[in-house]
Symmetry: C2
Subunit: 183 residues, 2 copies
DNA sequence: TGCGCTCAATCAATCACTTGATGGAATATA
DNA sequence: TATATTCCATCAAGTGATTGATTGAGCGCA
């Protein structure tokens, strides 16, 4: 249910109340329980929705040599358009550390993401955009960590231009960008 | 109170119950309320404890040229020794997005961290370890994002050797390390 | 005695979830 | 076609359990 998804983005897991979800969905509490017998089932629904939404980021459309850079820009654009998605993802990431039910699902999504990035890095290497001596899997892990840190942890929100600069710096490290500005 | 701190690490904010905290601390509920009149006050105590604990990371002791690398290793060591700290930090980071009471405290800590890193990058540049064309503040932001993504988001926990490689790759990007292994 | 601290007992509020009933569309029966 | 039956979706009104917080009586020690 999209309503629960929105509620989590607003109030987090600690503030997730079935009453509020039902209210936001415009239905009775009993109706909500008709579709989602338990709160746990509702959360599972949210997980599925969030993961599906997040996987759309992986879809690459640009030319092979620019796919990697396009991926970074795609995540950044998604973070601007749907900040709730990253809030929910962060919430789920934290919860996956103690909830064995969603841990495998979350891990699977991240693994798929890393796999995609690994391929993109490999392609970029083949075409001379990225240093061939780098290990694609390691670079993918580092990129994921940086993006997670930038967008899932709302601390960095203290200035989107800082996020832009950090992203540009990451691209520069990867060799996708020549300009390394200063001060 | 350290007990509450531990409870949050175990069950997150959503699972934080004053009763459990009192039980883990080995005191009566009323005793807990004697020291922390409200749950909010208890959380403030946890925030203070976590921040103070986290700030110890900033303390640099190595030789100027190696301070930056030492900082990265220090964070990694702390993450291995006290994983709860990073769980709590992640929980606080997420909460700071919607709780105006802890948002400024958290932001202040991160700003102090970035300031420290900025200085370290600057020093490293002065001594020729890091490319002088890089913007210290931007590099600091990227490093913080990467570390946050690696340690606060427990997703990456799928293999500490992957974390090690990603960190080594980051050091390599910064110019602190020559070896860039492959596959 | 007075003060810092602790305790069992209790409260009102809130939570996830249940109950029994209702209307309406689809299907079966005549 | 007309009537009876079944099933799905929804609702108002609860239920018991749990929550954060309070109370007033003690305890040990200065």
């Amino acid at each position: 249910m999209v309503a629960a998804y929105r509620r989590i983005a607003e109030a987090g897991f600690e503030g997730l109340r079935t009453r509020d979800v039902a209210a936001e969905a415009g239905v009775n509490i009993a109706t909500l329980h008709y579709y989602f017998p338990t709160k746990e089932a509702l959360i599972r629904g949210v997980v599925g929705h969030a993961m599906a939404r997040f996987r759309t980021t992986f879809a690459t459309g640009a030319r092979p040599g620019e796919q990697l850079a396009a991926q970074l820009r795609g995540v950044r654009r998604l973070a601007m358009q749907e900040p709730e998605l990253f809030v929910v993802m962060g919430e789920l990431a934290l919860r996956s550390g103690r909830d064995p039910a969603i841990a495998p699902i979350f891990k699977e999504t991240i693994d798929a993401w890393r796999s995609t990035l690994r391929t993109l890095v490999h392609h970029a290497q083949s075409e001379g955009f990225v240093d061939r001596r780098l290990d694609p899997d390691t670079v993918a892990s580092l990129v994921i960590a940086a993006l997670n840190g930038l967008f899932m942890v709302p601390v960095a929100k203290a200035g989107s231009e800082r996020i832009d600069r950090a992203l540009a710096q990451l691209e520069s490290f990867l060799g996708l960008k020549r300009s390394t500005r200063r001060s």
